[in-house]
């Protein structure tokens, strides 16, 4: 219907989450009308993010250097690791201002239905990090969903006897994502975290 390059832009935009065909068309025409600097700025930003941003070699959070800013920060408490599913889960916890430790980003949660087993997550890497002796406590902050709970239980079993393991206190809505929890609730959940009971 439109010249080839425009069709291509529309179909690329429509692949983004939450963007339907109509919105994609609107965005495409906006980009077409925008001045060169603005439009190419967007293209450049996309290129840069793909070239420069990778995963932190320590915690697997997003990083534009080998190590992320949090891992580089000397003031962080290195005896404390907070385990989350996705990089996007780090941000709400940082926003609470209540957490001064490091993170470990698993890259998802166990879900046999989707073929996601422990090997598909950064679990072995976590066990390795914990075994160097500097870590005292691991806070399990996976989502309070079925998959998040099972992931927390699995990790708790692997790390039991090595460190103190705590789980974010409830108060988070069951089934909700960390990403969408508000700061106050999350702050409360952090300060009220509970020790995971020992073996059955």
């Amino acid at each position: 219907m439109y010249p080839g390059p425009i069709e291509r832009l529309i179909s690329e935009l429509a692949r983004l989450p939450g963007i339907g065909q109509r919105t994609a068309q609107r965005l495409a025409f906006h980009i077409l009308r925008a001045d060169d600097a603005e439009a190419l700025g967007l293209a450049d930003a996309i290129q840069e993010v793909k070239e420069k941003v990778g995963l932190c070699e320590v915690c697997f959070n997003l990083a534009d250097e080998p190590r992320c800013r949090i891992c580089q920060d000397e003031r962080r408490d290195r005896s404390l690791i907070c385990v989350v599913e996705e990089p996007s889960d780090v941000i709400p916890i940082e926003r609470t201002g209540e957490y001064r430790g490091l993170y470990h980003v698993l890259g998802g949660a166990l879900s046999p239905i989707d073929g996601i087993d422990p090997d598909d997550l950064k679990i072995a890497e976590l066990v390795r990090r914990v075994s160097d002796g500097t870590v005292n406590e691991v806070v399990l902050a996976t989502n309070p969903t079925t998959t998040g709970e099972a992931t927390a239980l699995h990790i708790a079993e692997l790390l039991r006897d090595r460190v103190t393991i705590t789980r974010l206190a409830s108060g988070l809505p069951v089934g909700a994502d960390l990403e969408h929890a508000d700061e106050v609730t999350l702050g409360r959940a952090l300060s009220g975290r509970q020790s995971v009971p020992g073996p059955h």
Binding site: L110, S111, P112, I113, G115, D117, P118, D119, T146, T147, E149, A150, T151, L153, H154, E157, S170, V174, G175, H200
Partner: protein
């Protein structure tokens, strides 16, 4: 997340809820029309095939999102239409809420409460439902799965805070089954089975507790309702759990003990997904040995027990949809039924082929070839004005 969150048992709503209006479009044989309803008992009467049950089904869809008649909801789209749509206006105290359900031939489905996707959050805005349909006898005489699902829906109606228990268990069960399959196929190691069993056990113990408490609330009422409906022998409702575990660690240990067998079969062979809700008369299973009449009575007694329990716990009786219950009851039992229904207020929609089958409804609506119209026989007392129905142009 153990049974300690039984706080869901606190009354969440003491506000009267009723259905004020039903609007249908393209729904089975019903003509496009709007039906006004009021509190109390409304009788829908008319010949077979008129569309009475279709009205109940439409209400059920708008309230629950599911048909009480069919799994294939596309059947409800009128033969000559491309979309079926039902709107129900619910009054919660004085505030009106709009429920909408629609489905088109492409399978696009909407179920909205006040314009937003219906979810468990707004369960409080939808009246609980208790439904009797002759096809629903399967509930009594069919396999246990139907009774489990029914009991779990009752749990959700009684304690909205515990509505997630069944789904949570179902999700964990599906994951463990998937993992068993993957391990069996050599596609995954069994390393995370422990974790999944703990999660499944925690959800399972919670679900079993919900069921136990729900049946404890129902059983005495079930016995007395059955007696009133003319059952001579003791009528009993019992939760028969597959596992007696009351703590997650116990159930997890039981699951671990079944692991070998489960791996061989590729699915989970132990746990609350195998519970039974046993219904018996004089110690005999109604499912296996009950006559058609006994099965009907048992189902009716179950509905009355649920209504009583809901009345007690939430002060809001469920909306009762009773299809064709009169035909097999003698006049005494019919009077008794009407009395029971009037108890505690609330709304009920009943269908019958003749208007005389119910003595004192608050309103009677005649149904003829897909149209409903308020019928004004002088015999009907109508305090507070009649229920009205209007046929859209």
């Amino acid at each position: 997340m153990s049974g300690s969150d039984a706080g869901g048992g606190a009354p969440t709503s003491t506000v009267d809820m009723c259905i004020a209006r039903v609007r249908v479009l393209g729904f089975r044989n019903l003509v496009a029309q709007e039906l006004e309803l009021r509190d109390g008992l409304t009788l829908l009467w008319g010949p077979n095939g008129a569309g009475k049950t279709n009205v109940l089904e439409a209400v059920c869809l708008a309230l629950s999102g599911h048909s009480c008649r069919t799994r294939n909801e596309r059947e409800t789209i009128a033969f000559d239409q491309t979309m079926a749509r039902v709107e129900v206006e619910v009054r919660r105290g004085a505030e009106p809420h709009q429920l909408l359900w629609s489905l088109n031939r492409a399978g696009e489905r909407r179920h909205l409460v006040d314009g937003k996707d219906a979810g468990t959050e707004q369960l409080g805005l939808r009246p609980a439902l208790a439904i009797f349909l002759p096809d629903r006898l399967a509930l009594v005489k069919g396999p246990p799965a139907g009774r489990r699902a029914h009991l779990d829906r009752f749990v959700a109606a009684l304690w909205p805070g515990r509505a997630e228990a069944r789904r949570r268990y179902g999700r964990a069960l599906a994951q463990r089954n998937a993992l068993l399959g993957r391990v069996r196929a050599g596609a995954a190691s069994g390393d995370s089975l422990d974790a999944w069993e703990e999660e499944l056990a925690s959800a399972g113990v919670e679900l079993a507790l919900c069921r136990r408490e729900a049946v404890a609330a129902l059983a005495p009422e079930f016995g007395s309702a059955a007696a009133e409906l003319g059952v001579a022998e003791d009528a009993e409702l019992r939760h028969e759990p597959r596992s007696d575990a009351s703590r997650p660690e116990q159930l997890a240990a039981e699951l671990r003990a079944c692991r070998e067998r489960d791996l061989a079969r590729g699915h989970t062979t132990h746990g609350p997904h195998l519970d039974e809700l046993a219904i018996s008369l004089g110690g005999r299973s109604v499912r296996r040995f009950g006559s058609q009449g006994e099965q009907r009575t048992a189902l009716l007694a179950l509905l009355f027990a649920e209504r009583r329990a809901l009345l007690e716990a939430r002060q809001t009786p469920p909306l009762l949809l009773l299809d064709d219950v009169m035909s097999e009851l003698d006049p005494d039992r019919r009077a008794l039924l009407a009395g029971r229904l009037a108890e505690g207020g609330g709304q009920a929609l009943l269908t019958a082929t003749e208007p005389e089958q119910l003595d004192c409804p608050s309103a009677a609506i005649a149904v003829r070839r897909g149209s409903v119209c308020w019928s004004p026989p002088a015999a009907l007392p109508s305090p507070g004005g009649p229920a009205r129905a209007s046929v859209a142009a």
